[in-house]
Symmetry: C2
Subunit: 228 residues, 2 copies
């Protein structure tokens, strides 16, 4: 079993940076080990020497940002839950915990902003295609955790209906990441991810909440005290 520690400096990091950039730009299948090594003027053999194989490098590239991202997602969710123990969270809080880490993690990145979002989008979109088993298990736990929170926030909506809506929401998130450039097109300059996610949270919350009786929704309370 090959170790799975993500390098923070040195030639492995140089290679990974190049790989992540190219994967984000062209997609995982469209990038060869020669593309990566030539991009940083290293030898072809470097990839196999440092990562064992192309797949090893791919796995690290996928893990590098997604593991911290999903950790922050869980941390934000549980932090919000600790604030009002026992009470269900506001829908917007849950969704915010799911999407905001995308912005905060981007700030810690060596990748250009647009490429970071594209890379995440590609990883999310490929989920279920067997790109990286370890990450897919990580994501399965994550979505289970968020589904539990959603079930508590919307107890009157059947759980499998909620699962469908969470699925639709995830698709929207993936699409805005992979095709972000289409979003600012009419306005000339691209929207900030901050603005996009603000719109997305409201869109997704409305979709998830659909069908709730008006007064039941008002009396629900959480969003009445909603504030961040």
């Amino acid at each position: 079993m090959r170790e799975l520690t993500i390098p923070e400096s040195g030639p492995k990091r140089v290679l990974l940076n190049a790989a992540e950039q190219l994967f984000a730009k062209k997609g995982f299948e469209a990038v060869s080990v020669r593309d990566v090594t030539q991009f940083v003027k290293m030898n072809v053999a470097a990839v196999n020497y440092h990562f064992g194989s192309r797949e090893g490098m791919l796995t690290l590239a996928i893990m590098h940002y997604t593991l911290p991202l999903n950790e922050e997602r869980i941390a934000r969710l549980e932090s919000a839950e600790r604030k009002t123990p026992g009470k269900p969270l506001a829908l917007e809080e849950i969704i915010d915990a799911f999407v905001r880490p995308i912005i905060t993690q981007n700030r810690k990145t060596e990748l250009p902003e647009a490429l970071f979002y594209q890379l995440l989008g590609r990883i999310f979109a490929a989920n279920g295609d067997g790109l990286s088993q370890a990450y897919e298990e990580n994501f399965r736990q994550l979505s289970d955790r968020f589904m539990r929170a959603l079930g508590k926030a919307l107890p009157t909506i059947p759980f499998d209906e909620l699962a469908s809506r969470f699925h639709f929401m995830s698709g929207g998130l993936i699409h805005l990441l992979t095709h972000r450039e289409l979003l600012g097109k009419r306005a000339g300059s691209p929207m900030t991810m901050e603005a996009i996610l603000g719109r997305f949270i409201r869109f997704a919350a409305a979709g998830l909440r659909e069908g709730l009786a008006a007064d039941a929704s008002v009396k629900k309370g959480p969003q009445a005290t909603f504030d961040f």
Copy 2:
């Protein structure tokens, strides 16, 4: 310029059927011309003889279902508009015109149901990646047409906000097509596309009309000042 007529029978159709099936299963980049020809026990040269190139075959595979699909989308939208001229359509009607043709077109295909949906999802997901210029132009016109209808149905929502929401909705649709198998998982057997799209229409309609003052079903409390 090579003609772009989609064959209805003969060896070209046999090859295209195989290509469509394999594209749906494995993705466009993961299928070689040898995969296609061996699948139906024809010679490797057949693809280049009949389609000029792999890309020619790919273009036809993309056009084959998407052109009739988008035609039906427009037809349904305009048929609904003709029923009550001048009046804006119900949101659900617009979305229905956008998604229902996916079901009706599936009935006309020679492809297994699940593969048809996967193929469409892959095509939609690749939109903007330059897979087929002709189709991308076709889709641009389609989304312009639907955005016009949405603008009339929701005149109080800023147009570019509406464009964002349409973008999110499209992502949800793509994701449910490409990863439909995840949707029936908890129930054991996969949901019918009919049931999925029913849920999707309600989800998307709620998301699109979010924040509408006239909408009594969802309250607007502190979110009115909610600003990301």
